[in-house]
Symmetry: C2
Subunit: 220 residues, 2 copies
């Protein structure tokens, strides 16, 4: 697998400087990496495992705004506070950068800042896709889009995408798609009965009919 993590894909003097300020950290599943509204002192780059980001309403309703995997950046809020909570879905290893020191490096290496901006713009496009999903797609379309997203990111990481890895619980999926656990479960069984997917176990799904998933995701 090609290495997509930020802290391993650095060149020349950027690399040396970044290495000097990073710390390797790890988190067990269900552990909180940081809380919403907490001081945003660190930026992370995931090297393995998976992370969920979420926001809560006053009465406890939860919306997961994104999942992060190896290579993804975490906490690039340049504000003083994090705007969401980050929690490990399964054991996570990451590189941690003190935000202030990282920002100082930006002054000497504007290329780093360019990459940051590029990543922020990509995330923004993903967020807009997710808004389309949450606001206008049916349960079936949502689940199909979700599975495709997992498959595509798995491919992008260079992993085998035949069998889709689903490290998160039904509850996490539901809170990501704006559904209930029950609806996610029912929709998966429906897709299974239609032979669009094949459930190996709760954490491994095979996309038998990928075209069907794609049509569903695009709302055709």
């Amino acid at each position: 697998m090609k290495d997509l993590t930020f802290c391993s894909s650095l060149h020349g003097s950027e690399h040396d400087h970044l290495r000097q300020i990073l710390t390797h950290v790890q988190f067990d599943g269900h552990n909180t990496i940081f809380h919403e509204a907490e001081d945003a002192d660190y930026v992370f780059n995931i090297t393995s495992g998976s992370v969920k980001l979420y926001k809560l309403l006053g009465d406890g309703r939860r919306q997961i705004t994104g999942f992060l995997f190896a290579g993804d950046f975490l906490g690039l809020a340049l504000n003083t506070n994090y705007s969401y909570t980050a929690e490990a879905v399964e054991p996570v290893t990451a590189c941690r950068f003190p935000r202030q020191k990282l920002e100082k490096l930006f002054d000497d290496f504007p290329q780093l800042e360019k990459r940051m901006l590029g990543m922020a713009v990509d995330e923004l496009a993903a967020a807009q896709d997710q808004m389309l999903l949450l606001g206008r797609k049916t349960a079936k379309e949502k689940v199909a889009s979700f599975l495709l997203m997992l498959a595509r990111r798995q491919e992008h990481r260079g992993e085998d995408s035949d069998m889709i890895n689903v490290p998160m619980s039904r509850s996490d999926i539901a809170d990501y798609l704006g559904l209930t656990i029950e609806t996610v479960s029912r929709t998966l069984t429906q897709l299974r009965k239609e032979a669009t997917i094949s459930l190996k176990d709760n954490r491994h799904i095979e996309a038998v009919g990928r075209e069907m998933l794609q049509d569903l995701a695009e709302g055709l």
Copy 2:
């Protein structure tokens, strides 16, 4: 009203350079500024009026991902293509910057790029709030959040926020909140009957019970 537009808040040599590459443009209501997937040749800074951004599904279902007002930036996708369609809600004036020239300026004035990154991060936080709204709020909470958003941005622009300006149609509001026109209308009448808001006309709403709106928006 204090001037919040980018092209009028520039200092020193940044200002001069930016002035050299910008063009003043305008669009009538319902006019398209650019289409999704089109080449992203320009970046805009709104100086007056309001804009809606949207994405479409294959069968025509629409999700408005955001509204822009005076001072807001448009098209900061640094990709080669726009990721959404931008359309004027009411007559718009804007400054237009050729993307390539703007990016060249970034090399000489890293401060500009920093501001861009800051804006992208702010937009990202707004997008996450919107995901929480779309995925987990009820119709009433959505409408309350929407009205508060309009009021807050109006204040931020230095305009009187006693009477909320609602330049967009019910159809636009519906497609922004993931609802139907009818539900938006019904919810507004419900809020009116509860004396939480007062409808002057279709484009002007008074937030009589702002605390009530805030509680609704936060899901308490």
